[in-house]
Chain length 394, copies 2
Amino acid sequence: MTATPGLIPRGARNPGSQGALRHLNQERLVEYLLANGPSTQAELARGTGLSTATVSNIVRDMAAKGVVATSPVTSSGRRALLVQLTDTGDIAVGVDFGRRHVRIVLATLGYDVLAEEQVALEPGYDVLEAVAQASALLDRMLVAGGHDRQAVLAVGVGIPGPIDRRTGTVLQGAILPEWVGITRRELEDAFGFPVVVDNDANLGALAEVTWGANRGERNLIFVKIGTGIGAGLILNGQPYYGFLGITGELGHTPVAEHGVICRCGNRGCLETVASTSVMLESLGRSGATTTSDILRRGLEKDPAVLRVVGDAGTAVGQAIGNIANVINPELVLIGGPLVGLGDALLDPIRHGIRQNAIPIIAGTTTVRVSSLGDRAESLGAAAIVIQGALAGND
Amino acid sequence: MTATPGLIPRGARNPGSQGALRHLNQERLVEYLLANGPSTQAELARGTGLSTATVSNIVRDMAAKGVVATSPVTSSGRRALLVQLTDTGDIAVGVDFGRRHVRIVLATLGYDVLAEEQVALEPGYDVLEAVAQASALLDRMLVAGGHDRQAVLAVGVGIPGPIDRRTGTVLQGAILPEWVGITRRELEDAFGFPVVVDNDANLGALAEVTWGANRGERNLIFVKIGTGIGAGLILNGQPYYGFLGITGELGHTPVAEHGVICRCGNRGCLETVASTSVMLESLGRSGATTTSDILRRGLEKDPAVLRVVGDAGTAVGQAIGNIANVINPELVLIGGPLVGLGDALLDPIRHGIRQNAIPIIAGTTTVRVSSLGDRAESLGAAAIVIQGALAGND
């Protein structure tokens, strides 16, 4: 007999809720179809243990929503109904707002990228103007691809700031103060589509286990080092959102006991010593003014840049080490504009982890760069729409 | 449309695994029976969406294992089979080894406590001797209650140290160095029963959501402040074990930049400033030599004790604040021998959390003492056996 973390503690779920039950059963059918391809209703029932009545009810529903298509076939000499996940031309849109860019990806429910574009935004941009720009870009991409607006299921939007999931509102603490207070509703008005909002680092983490090389990873931290430093978590194989949805605020780990006061009000937070803006301030005398300068000079082994990246990386690693002691991840993925530096960035991070994590944790936590580069957040934003559609939310 | 953290990312599960599928379906039946009481097979099929064939197969299996009992009844004039979770006299044993005690609880699968006893252990006890003492105590408790040894399903054992779940071995870092290297197999030999081993703080957390006032809580940290400081996590409604099972090592959060070297090899860990042993060292001149002294004098408002508890509590709170920024728990429960101090302990912890957590996290995280006091770990140890039995592991 072994421990069974899998069994939900009593009362943690409400098994009596018909909606929740239907949702669970539908998830199971979708998973089966993703794993096994087109299947007859009989195969679905055998493969999932659901009754044929349950299967045919849910299939009818999903077919009405266009999530699956059904076609009559003959199986072992009998008439049967073949069910397959549709590629009806439905489009999931992922939008990633950064500090200086917006990136948009169009994808199918089968995780195929149809189009992908990025445009620069002025630093300190007006948020609603940027959203209007993004909406115009999306419209152009749809027209260019010959896609009907009706095909768009929803727009997933990644924002560099904490999101209160109770209300879909961007909270104090966003990298761009202008984002604070923006609601999902305002974004829906601007895009003219249903919108799902999430934090950019959460979406980066989700992208890694859906699109990336780390598909199927069960315990992973995605750490984005940019103007802000945030983390997205995959725990027990699922995106983790905690109580309010404000998770992964790694940038506010105190790392400098007598450091400066952070914009959050606390002292010596990681962001005050390791964000790309602080790196650029430190490098003021060396003439580096953008993260591209840091990247280029780092690759040329400029000692000033390597020192700054090393100090910042060590601090990031220390903060990760604290967290690793508690959540024991298998994998830490680093994202953001500096990942092209490779080991020049990763080695200091690993050093910082060793300083703060207990030896067995430090020794078994793998640190790599994101497999998706600057596409991670927008792909994650599309993934959240795809997952919502496959789960039959509406 | 909303985001769906509930849908497992592609590949994260293997829906093709028949064992995993059967396990999932069995969990669902057990949950239904826990929520709805005795039910006919037809009701189970309707209530879960499983086919009647699947239900009757799983019920037959569970009946053979004694997890459920079946009895023929008449329902709407038809013959039907009533299924109920059994109280066949099966006993789950929970054993909690502390630094100075071992506590044993006998419980039914229905979470009823049959017997509960605690005996003192000599500080610095020999581990195998203590295990033999516990085994003898368990035997006496079984005899005293008139319970057949056959009735014992398994013994859950809580140990104050990290456990490698791959091997069931106690790792370096255990509060009592003698525990290091002890394996589940050795405990099974000593007790003469199947054994499940887990970390004491993990079991404390599990007890809170199974036996305690916090049943159903989805995101909770249980922090045990004793000779060591460890945390157990309930995330998304389930006990969280991470990659290797070594989670919640809160005691090794660095909180003193120029502090002393910890037994883990790092500098300034929380345990070096806030464990009960360090509190007692600080109080050396005041004549307090046990945690009971701290508790008693703290309740008498002795200023030296309040200062030491205040400093330690603040440091614990700072470490919790770091973690709360990342996992955004709804609830933090404090356990260990000092919880009788109430707000004299909790207020400094809350203060520390406010220092290190961003305002919205600090403002929405509730801090309370454990609802189960010194029973938490042993009840959690029994709960892990109960959950294993209900999930049909063997």
